[in-house]
Symmetry: D2
Subunit: 431 residues, 4 copies
């Protein structure tokens, strides 16, 4: 066991750190100004494009892309910019969470595109890859993932009501989706749509995915939703989309019929790691802000930094960050060494624990900032809203807690019988 990062990690994180300090942080007020100047605009503002160019120039592009994939070891990744293991990428993702509105997209490492690119890299046909994956890897286009539905509890995939019906050489898609993040962005060309091809099949074989061009007739992007008051207009928002008798060729099916659930699970594993790491970077941002504020702000005769309650908050936050970071890193390592499926328990664990803890850390930071903390003048309020949403994204915490608890209660090998103590012997349920 060794907690020292390897040379690759040190090198890449140093470079990302420089990029953040030199270019991303100074760009934050620029983005704010550009967004303020362009109401009603859901596309990337110029500053994002500038940062993307800078990131590519620094070799910080597509870093999320794991080695290997269908092109063989290193094939796709080496060519496209990636090639880091999950364990190496994790601290990169954390750093991008320090400026979450700019750093991930600047480095072409933003959700939901990363997950969609991974899906395509693993399951797309060569034609599908050429049509969709290449422009995504180049940052020329964006994509959205259409899973959640307004009418049902979508964390239970058997509830999905959208139908994907084979009709001759075509699939016909009918349904209503929402919280399709990024789909308001005019650059978003691809909708990955989850629906049921066979409602009568076994529980986890009913679902399939199709690749639907956003401009297909019958696709209506109804509106942008707000998330705790934010429309996230600066990076494509969250769309409600109606699919009304939408016809795509049979070749638009991703993977095979009935494989939708399994592909969704495969997609979510790395996505959760990324979300969690970014959230930890966000927590570090909050602590940096608190540190500065607490040193300067005086109340009742002393700086806030001298108050016992502030000290206790900061200490608690530090402990939570340090312990959860290690759990995320171990999860990344498990994914690299034993695979996403075997790491299911840990993936669920971080999915539950990190957003909850970071939400608390941000909430305490807001208290330190007083009224400024809930205002738009400091990033805390918007960060808090973003992290709050993670407790619902990919299913509410409670679904994962129940699944993890059930698995733990069924664990067959008692503690003393574990062969490999670094591996959990709980086999997670797919959720």
């Amino acid at each position: 066991m060794d907690f020292a990062p390897d040379t690759t990690t040190r090198d890449i994180t140093d470079r990302v750190r420089d990029f953040l300090a030199d270019e991303v942080l100074p760009a934050e007020p620029v983005l704010a100004a550009q967004v303020a100047a362009t109401p009603g605009d859901w596309s990337f503002r110029p500053v994002v494009r500038d940062l993307q160019a800078a990131a590519r120039g620094r070799g910080l592009w597509n870093l999320f892309l794991p080695p290997g994939g269908p092109d063989g070891p290193g094939g796709l990744a080496a060519e496209r910019g990636g090639g880091l293991t999950n364990l190496q990428y994790a601290p990169v993702a954390e750093l991008t969470g320090y400026s979450p509105k700019l750093a991930p997209v600047a480095m072409n490492c933003a959700a939901p595109d990363t997950g969609n690119m991974e899906l395509l890299a693993h399951f797309a046909t060569p034609q599908q890859r050429e049509r969709w994956l290449d422009p995504l890897l180049e940052g020329e286009q964006r994509s959205a993932f259409c899973m959640t539905e307004p009418a049902v509890a979508s964390s239970d995939a058997t509830n999905i009501a959208t139908r994907i019906v084979r009709d001759g050489d075509e699939y016909v898609v009918t349904g209503r989706k929402w919280f399709a993040t990024g789909a308001m962005n005019p650059d978003c060309g691809l909708l990955v749509v989850m629906g049921k091809t066979d409602p009568g099949a076994a529980r986890h074989r009913q679902q399939s995915m199709v690749l639907v061009p956003r401009d297909t007739p019958g696709v209506t992007v109804v509106r942008g939703l707000t998330v705790l008051g934010y429309d996230d207009r600066d990076h494509g928002g969250h769309a409600e989309i109606v699919f009304d008798d939408v016809r795509v060729p049979a070749s638009a099916l991703l993977g095979g019929e009935g494989e939708g659930f399994a592909m969704a699970q495969a997609r979510l594993g790395p996505g959760r790691i990324h979300h969690c790491m970014r959230a930890l970077g966000t927590a570090e941002r909050a602590l940096d802000l608190v540190r500065e504020r607490a040193a300067d702000r005086v109340a009742f005769g002393a700086p806030l930094a001298d108050q016992g309650v502030v000290r206790e908050w900061v200490a608690t936050s530090r402990i939570e960050i340090e312990s959860l970071r290690l759990l995320v890193l171990k999860t990344a390592w498990l994914m690299d060494t034993v695979g996403n499926k075997a790491a299911m328990t840990e993936i669920q664990a971080i999915k539950i624990a990190v957003p909850r803890a970071v939400g608390q850390i941000l909430d305490r930071a807001v208290q330190v900032f007083g009224a400024a903390g809930v205002s738009g003048d400091h990033p805390l309020a918007e960060l808090l809203a973003g992290v709050r949403t993670l407790r619902l994204a990919d299913g509410p915490d409670e679904v994962h807690l129940a699944s993890l608890g059930r698995a733990e209660l069924r664990r067959r090998a008692p503690y003393l019988a574990r062969v490999a103590p670094e591996l959990s012997t709980v086999e997670g349920d797919p959720t």
Copy 2:
């Protein structure tokens, strides 16, 4: 001791309940539509004016106004619509919190006007009352309270940097305020401004208040601030205001020089009761929403209402509401019987405990609603933002906790020596 509400309370709450059911709740979607149709508008929309007329017609106007006041018992109140004790008004305020964007303003019982009207009723000269109080009581005008400043920790009143300097027959006001709730509303004519007239005086004698017409030269309403993403554009927002060499006649002073702190304290007592009661009504709204959702929504084979965790949440929420409601009611009763100053400990207690608990109740409700819970389609997200802000309004919780704890640790009479067990023997610090 008797927990049954009196006849007046039963009667007035029945009437408020009818008003809510008949007119306010149906008006909620109307307000949403009118706001959506009028971007950039910070004034009351027509539906608010309609509801105000209806409320007056039902005799539900100015109910917050306590009996007595400078006009003698019942004088002002009887004439203007009020006359309820704090204990009688408390359940009315709770009911208005069930629809917090409409019910309070419809009944002319919305913050910050209520607090400002109380200030004027207690401390204004006859000329000031005629000029400012009468139109406020008629709902013809709105007002704002300018206390918080961006540059300092304003919960410590000695930090206030705004200066109010006597210059001949005038006062000259200079400073920057923010979070002046309601001040973006064009109907807002009056700014009650707290500043220092004598920075060298004793800690709580440095501050004074002046009544500044919003259109006075030198007053610049800079912008509307957001609160966790919401601009609260439907009821006047939260303004940042610069006072640059603003001159008002000496007669604009409210009360005497050096009495600003004491008047602010007097103003905040009832305000905290009102905030807390409304928050409890909001919590009841959340529980009603959860009850409906949990009955209908099915996940993993059963309605949410059958899931142990949902049951536990709902039970916990119910317990918190019931116990805190009683504490607020007792606080109201203390204010009626022994006065606001003697009720200081209890006022601080509810100020701390209620927003915290209601925030948790709303947060759990959001989890039950999933993605819909953070969206703008259900009221929960905005309610959550509103209640979160209460943990900072009038000073962050931590200031009140420290004050209450200090008082409790200094309490002289041990438990067994208490003469009147219904009265706390802690005398609170002014905060």
Copy 3:
């Protein structure tokens, strides 16, 4: 609504307060010395008998006994010492919790005898009352309630395995009970035993109760159990008891066959009030101890009372006590005015909330005391153990949370339709 205690309450609490200060608190070290000097002894020590005599002399005897009962209004109570309403008795019970090892038993108001006396007062035949109730009211004998069984989850009454089988003129009792509080005391003559007479009957009609003299052949008091390390040897401990073919005459049946569950429910309502009130008195004791300690103890240059975290703890404790006390008092008032059954929701609410909060209050107090807090030198450790047990007594919190949550989720009348706002419209499940 009126939060002032009535004259009776003021008078009786003043007298109880005097009794505590004059006699009970000085007797605490005497009890400790007498217990230390008599290992292996489970009976009342002389100091308890002395205090009982003193309490009777002061008219502080059987105060728990409600007015009315089978003898008509005031009949039994007037004669025996009681006659207080639940609302009047509640602050008395709270005061006794300030010295929970001595004050309740001194005033013949200790569990489980109070509950057993109420059972007998309501359901016993004249012969049963003469035989068992009279000596209990006189304090000449003690009793135990045999409900919990080691082999099953006894909070679900359908799990009860003890059988009570009619055989001619006798009932034959067979089973194993434990946590029969007080049954190690040699003065304990009566065991009230819950068992099943008809396992095939409806869920809540299977159970009956019989009155079993502790010296009946076949009764074996196996051992005294410890509760978090304490054997509670000073007041009769907690016994495991085997009933092996124990024969009692048919006249030993309490109430009718199949009425055991209903009688147990009736018994538990007031018992929960009493437990909760005493727990609040215990919390006040902890705060008094903390206040003294925090004033005197210096660490890192300042008394503990000056530390922010201690202040916050004390403030939080005060808020919890004040709000929960009111909820308990309202519950008592509901029991007096609408009856135990209609107060079910509130009874469950306090049963859940009070031990949890008081446990936290004591836990924080222990931290203030450092190592001394967990030692036997200060009362905190033993008080903590006692309150921890309340989270399990009469069923674990979780059973009550589930029941209360289920009822709340089924509540039919929405908030705005409530006729009598002081009454919960939730009808609790029997648990």
Copy 4:
């Protein structure tokens, strides 16, 4: 970064696991019986001696002993049984926490002897080592650490009141200590006593340590203290000891005058790791117990394992264990690679976080067990008491939280400037 344990760790943990399964767990009821049969006895019972022999036979002896030390790399350790790094020893310590009353002492890895042996290994003269360290390493004798005093807040070392005064060739020790764990054991020959040699020196140079034979005239072992009701009679209890003009030769001084504080700090680092790892093993024991109970116990129609709340508890417990275990392991690794002083922040972090989390895990386990959980029939109650005490041992949590928070607030390097991301840049305060 690599989360796989090395070969040494795998081998040693396999062997410890076998020892636990084969010998320690079967010995638990034997210990209970031997303790029950010998009231008033504070010494090791025969079963402990038998297990010690077995552990030595299996080469599981003194494993806590780090490599190196004053004898050069591997010197002392290789000879005596140890030689594991902190990172290798950590999972061993965790395993011993699965049976904390037997496994640590069986393997001569029990507190406080381990800490005392480390102290002696680092700071003792050859004569002191021969006299005291050798018999301790052989398990022939026990020792106690006399730091905490009843009269002062001992977590602040400047409060220590015990005096160690040089008088010619002797030191004279005067003071009162308590919670000297193990000192009731008649095999305890050595008391390591912390006191002040120079109260006028700098804050952390006032203290020194002397080695006092327990049978020195003037030493009075007053009594055994209880800890939450437990006297821990099976392994030497917790003693109060008076030092009344106790004279030891000058050669009994450990290290130099004024080095007491620094030596205490050095001693506490590894001790905290050990405590935390053992606590995690205890948490695993609780989860194994819960798993078994929840599968078997039926309430309200279903096994406890099917109840949502139980699942959520178990999931939460699993997450806490996994994340905190990693933090402890990283702390061990830091101690191995950069030293105890540089690992101060992490040592404080685990000292705070682990006992708190494990306390919650045990508390939830108690709820699953119902009344049995607080009884002496299952290990949970006693484990809970033990872990609760850890929140006070070596200073209450709050002292460490304040210290960690202060350090974090003073951290100079912002997040983006960190050179070595695996190292915290916070330099802890000595506490």
